[in-house]
């Protein structure tokens, strides 16, 4: 067994290596292209140390907490055999992790401002807030729905590509009729919903389920939850934009 200190040092070193490319890119552009000194060197150095140590702890916690709990819950649900509770859990996980996502809150506020500018809603604060809140819940609901579909898919063994391609067709079709202003936001909303804590949990849940259900392959059936969770928000945000206009 390796000593924990050596292991920790190795993890720190690999975190530092992960972040080195950013430092190189920024230093290169700042010094050679923009030809400016790097401001606040000490603050940047301190911040970089925090980032490296933070990433190290995160990876540790991932292996100790998030992965095991995701998988052990998947095993328990599979053994319990209650599809209803499993789907309820999946929905709550998708909805709950998305509704509190800071990136989503920022995006929905921007969307509300665009809608107000475009004359879709009134330019009052109340109308904007209402629009933003509605949008946020719409996206969170769509991620919850994606989790249900994704878990059902794992149970039934449906191939992911048909569902995704069907989703693509829907996105393309809706793009043709959705208001132009909403399209950019809708496309972006797919990417912002999946946060740093949701992704490991969802992945562990999918892989845990696929490895505990007979006849499922963790590689073939375990992945795919994230893909669905980034597809449904696009559809629902466009639908939201269409209903409002």
């Amino acid at each position: 067994m390796k000593s924990p200190i050596i292991h920790f040092a190795k993890t720190i070193a690999s975190s530092a290596r992960d972040l080195a490319p950013i430092a190189i890119v920024i230093a290169f552009f700042q010094l050679f292209i923009l030809k400016q000194p790097i401001p606040n060197m000490d603050e940047i150095a301190l911040g970089s140390i925090l980032v490296v140590v933070g990433l190290t702890f995160f990876v540790y916690g991932l292996e100790m907490g998030l992965f095991p709990i995701g998988e052990s819950m998947a095993f328990s649900f599979a053994r319990k055999g209650s599809v209803f509770w499993l789907l309820t859990f999946a929905f709550c996980l998708g909805f709950g992790t998305t509704v509190a996502e800071p990136a989503l809150i920022a995006v929905s506020q921007k969307a509300a401002r665009i809608a107000a500018q475009g004359g879709v809603i009134e330019t009052t604060d109340i109308a904007i807030k209402q629009y933003a809140r509605g949008l946020k819940f719409t996206v969170a609901f769509s991620v919850g729905l994606a989790a249900i579909v994704g878990v059902l898919r794992i149970i039934k063994g449906w191939p992911i590509q048909w569902i995704i391609m069907g989703g693509y067709l829907l996105v393309v079709g809706m793009t043709m009729i959705a208001p132009v202003e909403i399209i950019g936001i809708a496309y972006d909303s797919g990417g912002v919903t999946t946060s740093t804590i949701t992704v490991p949990l969802m992945t562990a849940l999918g892989i845990g389920l696929a490895s505990s259900i007979k006849g499922r392959n963790p590689m073939l059936d375990g992945f795919g939850l994230i893909a669905l969770a980034s597809l449904t928000p696009m559809i629902f945000v466009m639908a939201y934009g269409m209903l409002y206009s």
Partner: protein
Amino acid sequence: MNELIKFFWTFLHTITDVLPIAGIIFGFQFLVIRKKIPNLKRVLTGFFYVIFGLALFLQGLEDALFPIGKLMAAQLTDPEFIRQSVFASVAKTIPETIAQGAQIIEFHWSQYFWVYIFAFTIGFSTTIAEPSLLAVAIKANEVSGGSIGIWGLRIAVAIGVAFGISLGSWRIVTGLPLHWFIISGYIIVVIQTLYSPKLIIPLAYDSGGVTTSTVTVPIVAALGIGLATSVPGRSPLIDGFGLIAFASLFPIISVLAYAQLSEWYGKKNTEQFNKVTTKKRE
């Protein structure tokens, strides 16, 4: 001291972000599954590490990376900088008249070349540092019995993001409609799906969603808004969006391409890979 107080707030903020998730997990565990969590102490320590690590990580990003990243995005898209870099490189070929009316000219899209290079390199490097991609890569490596390398996947995804963001910047500069690009991207994905090794498809689809989170989004968003503000005829509110969409579509293409390439170049590896994963299934 000030730093400590700031960290305390970030820490509290991270806790409130994680709280609903923890509530759902432990709620279901106690009310529905009704079984003790195996290694409860270890799991709780792990949760603490995740929150603590994420708080440090975010604090560090706020202090170090975001201010300079956003500043650089703004400077690189500044018309003044673009004019200078154009004069520095192709000064001889620029007609007098354009040079005189420099304040109102619209730059040719190729004159934003430093923006594309910045978009490519910053997209690549922030993706390598993305914690959720690392998490998925660790899992994929484990599940595939080691035949999908952690670095192989991360680099494939990072190339996709890099390419996506630079193409997305070019789109903002030229003002072409976003949905043409995304729909063409979908068509490529569909064609690739037909010819890709089956086992990689779900992972490739997933890698689209994982790439854009904590590190990439703020800097990329700053780049998009900077570009849309400085390019004449673009509105930051409308054209500033879309970069994230590019960054979540192109990794699917690059990961599928990576799988196809490794299949062509090493049939042996794929056979071994299939063997390992089928063994896992049994």
